[in-house]
């Protein structure tokens, strides 16, 4: 018990230390750019891992939610005069409602069918963003205004770094709280055996919908921030391949591991940058990582390492 609490707080402290020390090691705009994108991806992956790793429900369409959040922040301030924060919250709310509406029928499906339904949903989002040219600018994308906080536009890498770092910390903290609560246990129970979970008084369907909506909202918030930070969005944000990248991060880092989500997101955000000179080989590497992890380390990097270390100590 105290051991577990210690681990949890130790992990959080470590994360805080890494985020705080970041600027000491980040030399230039490019470094900051990678760090900020990694942080945003990590936020999405924490939510996605609650869905895939803990609750055992796959989604191949989360880029769709990310993109909807991004476009909410692009469109609402520009066309409808929303405050950027209002747009972010409205986007998150709308995505939450959308996820809720589709979760109810979709989450009755299992396995392949759920994968396919979420995939179809993501692709429909990307095509709509592509085709609704008058609203979204179509395939060319659209420019996004600044994020303003307390009347001040958020500009500069350092400011963005702290914002994303703080948000990542809060997301991690909340996810850890959730995982170590009856809710997190119920999610894992749904993964372990839906029959037994139901017989133990867990409303299986309720928890599936809950975690689907939660992960969609996190993706939308990260999408909104990405849009403001990047200053530009395109329908590619919703692409199938982006959904797959997110799943790859979760799988590589480790199923049902919050730390794994962060590690996976950072590693796979960094990787394409490291491979920039070998751009042609990027897809080969990505595909090989996806296959290799699932075959050789099916639980992912962080849980595998954790198990090794525990064995050593024992």
């Amino acid at each position: 018990m105290s051991n577990q609490l210690l681990q949890r707080h130790g992990g959080l402290a470590l994360l805080a230390a890494i985020i705080a020390a970041g600027p000491l090691f980040l030399d230039n705009g490019f470094h900051y750019n990678v760090a900020i994108l990694a942080g945003l991806n990590a936020i999405v992956c924490i939510g996605l891992n609650l869905l895939i790793g803990h609750a055992g429900q796959i989604s191949l369409g989360h880029a769709g939610f990310f993109a909807l959040g991004a476009y909410a922040s692009a469109i609402l301030p520009e066309r409808f005069g929303f405050h950027p924060l209002g747009a972010l919250l409205t986007g998150a709310l709308l995505v939450g409602l959308l996820a809720f509406a589709i979760a109810r029928p979709i989450l009755r499906l299992r396995g392949h069918y759920l994968a396919m339904a979420t995939l179809g949903m993501g692709i429909i989002v990307s095509i709509v963003l592509d085709q609704k040219v008058d609203l979204t600018g179509g395939p060319d994308g659209m420019v996004v205004g600044d994020l303003t906080l307390f009347g001040q536009a958020l500009r500069g890498n350092l400011a963005w770094y702290w914002l994303v770092g703080a948000l990542l910390f809060v997301t991690t903290w909340m996810a850890l709280n959730l995982v170590h609560s009856p809710v997190g246990r119920a999610l894992k129970a749904v993964h372990g055996s839906e029959l037994a979970a139901a017989a133990m008084g867990v409303d299986v369907f309720h928890y599936k919908v809950l975690v689907f909506v939660l992960s969609a909202v996190l993706a939308a918030i990260a999408g909104s921030l990405f849009a403001h930070y990047n200053g530009f969005v395109t329908p590619d944000e919703a692409s199938f391949i982006h959904s797959i990248q997110l799943v790859t991060m979760v799988v590589l880092g480790g199923m049902a591991s919050i730390a794994g989500s962060i590690v996976g997101a950072v590693a796979l955000t960094l990787l394409p940058q490291l491979l920039a000179d070998f751009h042609d080989y990027e897809m080969i590497v990505f595909g090989a990582i996806l296959m290799g992890t699932m075959i050789l380390l099916p639980t992912g990097v962080v849980p595998t390492l954790a198990a090794r270390i525990r064995e050593r100590l024992a």
Binding site: S181, P182, G201, V202
Partner: protein, 256 residues
């Protein structure tokens, strides 16, 4: 006092009438056993009673309340829990966490407090943990408290399912073949455990093929065959019933 009343319960799969117009009543605090040959419909009956599947016809009255067709998690709230013939352990957790899931309905499980890690949640978690540890002792699994469920032997998993079901604080517990696959020592332990559960005031519905166990613990026995009630009564009546011997006991004797 009648605790559970079942009338005309019926469920078909395609052409097969797995449970066919079953009636019976269970008195509070009894150990009520249901026996019958393979495919008689015992597990289907349990699935109907525990709300995992909905009946085609009939009614289930639990402690005076009509609970027919309620989903499983709502039946758990009303004090009905169960174990499974084919293990349904949460293999992605530790043994203790498995038991803690059973306590779900009695924990502080509202979303926002859990998300924020409020003290109320932490207190509730502490209590749940202590309670789950007590139950692990109760079923004799204290040495597995910190074990991963996936690493536990079969016999221990059978008891883990019972501890998990007890964590729901049931008033009636459905055990589907708790002794299947156990060695004689483990079966003796299971015998004692079932008695103890009944002594602690929990009504037990038992499906079991191990007849020694059935004769030993049952207050009342129902024989099911082809989805229908073939006979009902105390152990002595059932043993003396020629129909039962033919349909079930003799059949199993020949199988050996």
């Amino acid at each position: 006092m009648t605790f559970l009343r079942v009338t005309g319960l019926t469920k078909s799969f395609g052409g097969v009438r797995a449970v066919d117009g079953v009636d019976f009543t269970v008195r509070a605090n009894d150990v009520f056993s249901i026996i019958g040959p393979n495919g008689a419909g015992k597990t289907t009956l349990f699935n109907l009673l525990s709300g995992l599947i909905a009946p085609d016809a009939g009614a289930v009255i639990l402690d005076g309340e009509d609970v027919t067709g309620l989903p499983a998690h709502q039946l758990a709230t009303r004090g009905l829990s169960r174990s499974f013939q084919n293990l349904q352990v949460f293999f992605n957790m530790t043994a203790l966490e498995n038991v803690m899931v059973g306590n779900h309905r009695h924990t502080a499980r509202r979303f926002l407090p859990c998300l924020l890690g409020l003290p109320s949640v932490r207190d509730s978690e502490r209590r749940t943990r202590v309670f789950a540890e007590e139950l692990m002792h109760y079923v004799g699994l204290e040495r597995y408290i910190h074990a991963q469920a996936a690493a536990m032997p079969y016999g221990a998993l059978k008891r883990l399912e019972i501890a998990r079901a007890l964590a729901t604080r049931p008033r009636i517990l459905l055990l589907d073949e708790p002794a299947a696959g156990l060695n004689p020592a483990e079966t003796a332990h299971m015998d004692a455990l079932i008695r103890r559960i009944a002594e602690d005031g929990i009504t037990v519905l038992l499906v079991e093929h191990d007849m020694h166990l059935v004769w030993s613990v049952s207050d009342h026995i129902l024989v099911l065959n082809h989805g229908r009630v073939l006979a009902e009564g105390g152990a002595r009546e059932i043993r003396a019933n020629p129909q039962v011997v033919e349909a079930y006991l003799g059949h199993r004797a020949r199988e050996r």
